[in-house]
């Protein structure tokens, strides 16, 4: 009877976007009378932080504080087209569309400011706090609120922009399999350290280390949350998610998803996560997508750690106590 420790590695690459059928997303942006820039989308933020990241992209492009950006999204009856939230494409596709829309709006914003300040638009810059000012003469400036009011009521103009990201459909060459299915690839290495109880068959993940290369990390705190939340999902796939955790006894088995076994707080290992950056030419400010990949590498890392700990090579998820014990029995016989 012993608790056996082991360490396992897994390394993966993961595509951003999937465009074998063409993959567009669109964005519209307009300024209200008081200088709030509303981004209209139909892209869905299902908790991954898309609204925050595209607001960052718009604020950076406009040269305005993020407080001046409002994201209005997820109504497919009224919003511009979005292919959807899948294939880790949201930040990459929608971010690019929003940057394009914001760049068009910025040009109009500077045009109107040029008329208000009676200067040439090419001599104007944004200061990042809400003002448009003359380069080298910062005292000559106008606040975005006054600018938006002037656009509406003096100049009769909209400050608005249209954006689209579209990767063309990739035809597969039947003879060779040649195709261009994605826009870029993110990379990750996960190391899992486990303890296997050779009497009960229970596997505990003690520590997990994650290194992700995700192009430019537009929001490092949220990217790290994605890495660690995804690792939890991977851990859950690897060790927990079965309708028969107590097989062959069914008495205490889950009968629906509310009783389905998943890791609780006490089952979550210590995690250390590091982000590396190699910006992608095609990404918004260099970002790649990391949505779905974060649940992937923890699973083979845990399987390899179990093998390292006790010599049992498990090929079917989840790695339940029963399967570990059957594997140990097979080794002994």
């Amino acid at each position: 009877m012993a608790r056996l420790r082991g360490r396992g590695y897994a390394a993966v690459n993961y595509p951003t976007g999937m465009n074998l059928g063409g993959d567009p997303s669109q964005a519209l942006i307009h300024a209200t009378t008081t200088g709030t820039f509303v981004i209209s989308l139909s892209s869905v933020d299902l908790g991954q932080g898309l609204k925050t990241v595209v607001a960052q992209c718009a604020a950076e492009t406009l040269g305005l504080p993020i407080e001046n950006v409002l994201v209005d999204t997820a109504d497919t009856d009224t919003g511009p087209h979005c292919m959807g939230t899948f294939a880790s494409r949201g930040t990459h596709r929608v971010g690019n569309a929003v940057i394009m829309a914001a760049a068009e709006a910025r040009a109009i914003m500077l045009d109107v400011a040029a008329e208000e300040l009676e200067v040439d638009a090419v001599d104007l810059e944004t200061d990042g706090t809400g003002y448009v000012q003359v380069k080298g003469a910062a005292e000559k400036r106008i606040h975005i609120t006054d600018l938006a009011l002037a656009a509406h009521f003096t100049h009769g103009r909209t400050i608005s922009g249209r954006g689209v990201f579209m990767k063309d459909k990739s035809e597969v060459v039947p003879e060779t399999g040649e195709m261009d299915p994605d826009s870029c690839q993110a990379h990750a290495c996960t190391v899992a350290e486990v303890e296997v109880d050779d009497e009960t068959g229970v596997v505990e993940v003690l520590r997990m280390y994650s290194v992700y290369e995700i192009g430019r990390a537009l929001n490092p705190a949220m990217a790290t949350q994605q890495v660690e939340g995804g690792a939890w999902m991977g851990l859950s796939h690897a060790l927990f998610e079965t309708t028969e955790p107590y097989y062959p006894a069914r008495d205490h088995g889950p009968v629906d998803f509310s009783e389905y076994l998943m890791p609780g707080a006490g089952d979550v290992p210590q995690q250390r996560s590091v982000l590396l950056e190699r910006p992608a030419d095609s990404g918004p400010f260099g970002a790649k997508g990391i949505g779905e990949m974060t649940a992937n590498s923890p699973i083979p890392a845990i399987a390899n750690a179990i093998f390292d700990a006790c010599g049992v090579r498990l090929e079917h998820m989840p790695f339940t106590p029963e399967r570990v014990l059957r594997g140990l029995d097979a080794l002994r016989s």
């Binding site: 360490r7 396992g8 590695y9 390394a11 690459n13 060459v173 060779t176 399999g177 040649e178 195709m179 261009d180 299915p181 870029c184 690839q185 990379h187 990750a188 290495c189 996960t190 190391v191 350290e193 280390y209 994650s210 290194v211 992700y212 290369e213 192009g215 250390r272 590091v274 590396l276 190699r278 992608a280 030419d281 790649k288 083979p300 390899n304 093998f307 090579r313």
Partner: protein, 66 residues
């Protein structure tokens, strides 16, 4: 990867580093790889857990073709 590495008697992480794709490699669907960083994430992971790597593995780079 782990099973092959152990069959060959090679450290699993070194085996992965040796075989990691790099910029300029052609992938299965005949697309030339760019923006790769598989080697670098493994090198950094080795640092985090104190996995010893000889210099020839430390100096590998995704930017340099084989």
């Amino acid at each position: 990867m782990d099973r092959i590495a152990r069959e060959l008697g090679i450290d699993p992480l070194r085996f992965r580093l040796r075989n990691a794709y790099r910029d300029g490699d052609m992938k299965a669907h005949r697309k030339i790889a760019e923006g790769t960083a598989l080697i670098e994430v493994m090198q950094k992971a080795a640092d985090l857990v104190g996995h010893e790597l000889p210099d020839e593995y430390r100096t590998m780079s995704s930017l340099e073709g084989r």
